[in-house]
């Protein structure tokens, strides 16, 4: 997994590079937006982490240009400003997630992993969390390489949970995504699919946590 970090603060950049490398990613670091633009055009990165407050061209402009070139790379924004306006601007022009400084390293690692996973689903059509892998093209699932027997609905629920992780997926959204004009899905049905999935994932290190009143979160011991 190859990550490009664009951050002008040397101490923070060094920390992030080391932190992500320990999590098994290989990280290139640039301290300005201009070289980052060409680097992103030339190299197929799995993730770009961009600080908004850069000298010269700022992070927002870099993201705008990357998206104008239609590069499909997932982008995580780092920002020191907490106003929603900054966040919305970033997400509107095509960033995928943001983190407000200061943040904890595990948080950054988790967000980076989630973005890489989703990006991977778009390009290689597989989704992986810990030992669990979903093949989006074949609609199959495997645990540590062993095929997992899933019904169509179970597979759909698992896919949405994996795409949302590490965030909580609300039951409401799940029902909206799975339902269609002719077949509505009841909350009870969702609960049944989740409990079957739990049974099939037992002892795999991947668990589904219930968040009462909201929905579910897929967690992995990775």
């Amino acid at each position: 997994m190859r990550v490009l970090l664009v951050e002008d603060d040397a101490a923070l950049a060094a920390g992030i590079v080391e932190g992500l490398e320990r999590a098994g990613m290989s990280v290139d670091h640039l301290d300005a937006a201009e070289p980052a633009e060409s680097a992103l055009a030339l190299t197929a990165y799995d993730l770009a982490i961009v600080d908004l407050g850069l000298p010269g061209m700022d992070g927002l402009e870099l993201i705008r240009r990357v998206r104008r070139r239609k590069l499909p790379i997932p982008i995580l924004i780092l920002t020191a400003r907490d106003g929603l306006d900054d966040r919305v601007k970033g997400l509107d022009i095509g960033a995928d997630d943001y983190l407000v400084k200061p943040f904890l390293l595990p948080e950054l690692q988790a967000r980076a992993r989630a973005l890489i996973r989703r990006g991977g689903a778009a390009t290689s059509s597989t989704l992986t969390i810990g030992p669990l892998t979903l093949d989006l093209g074949l609609r199959t699932a495997s645990l540590d390489g062993t095929e997992l027997e899933l019904t169509g609905r179970e597979w759909d629920v698992l896919q949405h949970l994996m795409l949302a992780a590490p965030k909580v997926l609300s039951k409401k959204k799940l029902m909206e995504s799975l339902g269609s004009w002719d077949s509505e899905i009841s909350p009870n049905a969702i609960e049944i699919y989740v409990s079957r999935l739990r049974a099939k994932l037992a002892d795999s290190g991947v668990t589904i946590r219930t968040v009462r009143g909201i929905g579910y979160r897929l967690e992995s011991a990775e």
Binding site: D9, D82, F103, V168, G213
Partner: protein, 465 residues
């Protein structure tokens, strides 16, 4: 030195007005007296003519042939004693009272001549007339008639009383007109100052010049310039905060990241020390974030906030992802009861509000406890957001204090004391109402934030702008 415009106006108007009225009393009195005197003088001259009509020319000149009865009539007056004398040009008394003989001053020019004089100790009005019956008569005679001044004095005092009364009435009326007139004139000033008084302390919108009377517009303009300066200062502070946020947060992030990396390589005692340093750092980061949020939220109150519909349900859902790990780490049950609810507001400050409520609840509830987040629309149509815990709660007498900045209750050891101040600031910005009560089973704390209904809030915003 302070003074009242009303008192000044009344003073400036009343002093000249009173002087003018005093002057008018004097002139009115004198004029009245003059007119009365003229009328009585005319009557006195009538007596002179009556005497003249009785004068007969004889060899020595003129002689008065006055019957005793006629004399009686002449001398009769309702109030005053009348004296008369006819004196020839040699000063000899032809007829009448010898008392008047010494009073003759032959008139030059005006004829007859009137003057005040004394007979004995009595004041009299005296008329002297040079009577020339024919052109060739020897110079004629002088007819003197005098009367005491009782009726003139009586009239004088009547005139005095009448002018005093009317002028006093005029003074009193003027006083009343001036007093109420001035009051009426300064009423817009008072309304203006009441409007300023009623303002929220952080309301920095300019005053409406159109509502002010023309005379105080320069004053209102000056106030508006001052308000504009304050707003500018607030914007400058905002820019500073934004910059400070960036300058503070990046090194904090670097420090935090580096410490985490070091922690992984350490064992035993050094690792324990580092863990304590990390805890302090997390608190420092938290405090920085809160102070900046508070300053920014407080600044928002000074500007026309750009409100848009915000779904409380979405906010609660996002908070679930943000706070689940904290709850798990502290062994707390974090539960949600979201119902659809939309308010007019600012999403990022509302997110801060909920984050601080949740942060407090998760911080103060002991392990094993339960924290519940609710949102929805009450039966009365009021959207609400609620965070309830079953922790130690806050005693009723301390509930008002918790909204002040940096206030930490006796039992509190972990917090910065800013969380609820931020909640209050954001609630004020949204004109929302906060209530603190016990949790549903009588223990813990329930913080409920009630918002104005969406329609009311949006239409109010339109009225404001």
């Amino acid at each position: 030195m302070s003074y009242s415009i009303r008192k000044r106006l009344i003073g400036y108007l009343l002093v000249p007005l009173t002087a003018l009225l005093a002057f008018s009393i004097v002139t009115d009195y004198r004029e009245g007296l003059h007119v009365a005197n003229k009328a009585y003088d005319h009557a006195l001259f009538g007596t002179v003519l009556a005497i003249a009509a009785q004068l007969d020319p004889d060899e020595n000149g003129l002689d008065l042939d006055l019957q005793e009865q006629a004399e009686q009539v002449l001398r009769t007056d309702m109030a005053d004693e009348v004296f008369y004398a006819v004196i020839d040009r040699h000063g000899r008394l032809i007829a009448g009272d010898p008392l008047l003989q010494s009073k003759l001053i032959p008139p030059h020019g005006d004829n007859p001549v009137y003057r005040f004089d004394h007979i004995g100790n009595q004041e009299v009005r005296l008329v002297t007339y040079h009577y020339r019956p024919t052109a060739n008569a020897h110079e004629g005679v002088f007819i003197l008639v005098a009367e005491t001044t009782k009726k003139r004095q009586r009239d004088a005092s009547r005139i005095m009383v009448t002018t005093l009364w009317t002028d006093l009435l005029l003074i009193l009326t003027s006083l009343a007109v001036v007093f109420f007139g001035v009051r009426y004139a300064v009423a817009p000033l008072e309304r203006m100052s009441q409007r300023i008084d009623r303002r929220e302390p952080d309301d920095l919108r300019p005053l409406d010049e159109a509502q002010a009377p023309k005379e105080i517009r320069p004053f209102v303009r000056a106030i508006n310039r001052l308000i504009a300066n304050l707003r500018e200062a607030a914007s400058a502070q905002q820019a500073f905060l934004s910059n400070a946020a960036h300058q503070l947060r990046t090194p904090l992030a670097a420090l935090q990241t580096q410490l985490e990396l070091v922690a992984e390589t350490l064992q035993g005692e050094p690792r324990e020390r580092l863990r304590r340093a990390q805890e302090s750092l997390v608190r420092l980061s938290h405090l920085t974030r809160q102070m900046l949020a508070l300053a920014r939220a407080a600044h928002q109150a000074n500007t026309e906030a750009d409100f848009s519909p915000v779904s409380l349900e979405d906010l609660v859902e996002a908070a679930a992802s943000d706070f689940l790990d904290t709850a798990i780490a502290r062994d707390l049950h974090l539960e949600f009861e979201p119902s659809p609810a939309v308010v007019a507001g600012q999403a990022w400050t509302l997110r801060e509000l909920l984050a601080n409520l949740l942060d407090n609840a998760l911080r103060y509830t002991p392990a094993g406890g339960r924290v519940t987040v609710r949102c929805g629309v009450a039966a009365s149509g009021i959207p609400f957001l609620e965070v309830e815990d079953d922790g130690p709660g806050i005693p009723p007498h301390e509930r008002d204090k918790v909204f002040e900045r940096f206030v930490r209750l006796e039992s509190d050891s972990a917090g910065s004391g800013l969380g609820l101040a931020i909640v209050k600031e954001v609630a004020d910005l949204h004109r929302a109402h906060i209530t603190l009560t016990e949790g549903s089973n009588g223990k813990g704390l329930r913080v409920r934030v009630e918002f104005p209904p969406l329609q009311a809030a949006l239409s109010r915003q339109e009225n404001d702008s």
